[in-house]
Amino acid sequence: MPRLTIHEDRCKACGLCVEFCPKDCLALSDKFNPQGYHPVELVNPDECTGCAICAKMCPDVVFKVEK
């Protein structure tokens, strides 16, 4: 299974990763990060293919993807 590392503090909740994940694995959480945003979280880890589209679309380099 691919490993997605999410640097939550860096997330600005723009939603681009959520929008572009082909497997709908991501969603914005309810909590706040120190910047005041609701950071993204992996809600569907099993579906994740490690395609790294989320990582590439993220303007804030929040993800690391391994597989």
Partner: protein, 250 residues
């Protein structure tokens, strides 16, 4: 386990000051990837410009000098002429490059300065609060075109890549976008080519990247991202406008 994606090495491990969903971050990352790819981190001197990307020197692990607004191509000319062995790039916004810096980019291109130019077109002056730029779309409302840009008053949005591609001194010119995975792939390739152009001494490598400014467009990040394909690309067509192979140089 193999790393499929990680932060490029030459990108300092800190958070960007950009607004949520702003493509500047994405473009910074692509440039950092090119620096890593060509292993030029230790020989690079960049000329930062003035715009939302002014803090470039905080984000790249390279030597940087700050340029006055619009003058980065001249600053880069000075660096490169005095240090032909260094890798020199500039990163400029559309206000910076297509308005106040028009003469500097055109003449650096025309002289065939062997530098790489990343041109970030978000159709507004982002940093100063969203005023009209020469690239602002017809009808677009900005803080200084409150009734929408009007041709009779303000002219048409200017297409810099087309203009520069005509000049003999330009070795590579392309317009790309980062609003979708597919466009991103091409953007990455174009930036790599613009790097290679300099390394192979083939004149200016120029890449225009269409970019969002959700804040000053008054849009959410997703909506802003969609505007790129819906409104910008039809007027600013993507593609490689010039690619000179070694032989037709001179």
């Amino acid at each position: 386990m193999k790393t499929v994606f990680e932060r490029p090495q030459s990108l300092v491990d800190t958070s960007f000051h950009f607004c949520p969903g702003c493509h500047h971050g994405t473009i910074h990352r692509l440039v950092a990837e090119a620096i890593d790819e060509y292993k030029v981190r230790e020989t690079t001197i960049a000329a930062a410009s003035v715009g939302c990307s002014v803090f470039l020197y905080d984000y790249f692990d390279i030597d940087v000098v700050e340029s006055p607004h619009g003058r980065a191509p001249a600053v880069a000319t000075g660096i490169k002429r005095a240090n032909p062995d260094k890798f020199v790039f500039v990163y400029q916004g559309d206000g910076d490059l297509a308005a106040i810096g028009t003469a500097e980019i055109i003449h650096a291109a025309n002289r065939g300065e062997n530098i790489t130019v990343i041109f970030v077109n978000n159709t507004v002056y982002g940093m100063t609060g969203g005023q009209m730029a020469p690239t602002t779309m017809l009808g677009q409302r900005t803080t200084t075109s409150p009734y929408g840009r009007d041709f009779a008053q303000d002219g048409y949005p200017i297409r810099m890549t087309e203009m520069l591609a005509q000049l003999e001194g330009v070795g590579y010119a392309a317009r790309v976008a980062v609003d979708s995975p597919a466009h991103l792939g091409k953007a990455r390739k174009a930036i790599m080519k613009a790097f290679a152009t300099q390394i192979e001494n083939r004149g200016m490598g120029f890449v225009e990247v269409l970019c969002t400014c959700p804040t000053n467009w008054g849009m959410g990040p997703i909506e802003a991202n969609k505007r790129i394909a819906a409104e910008m690309i039809p007027y600013f067509p993507l593609g490689v406008y010039k690619e000179r192979t070694g032989s037709d140089f001179m």
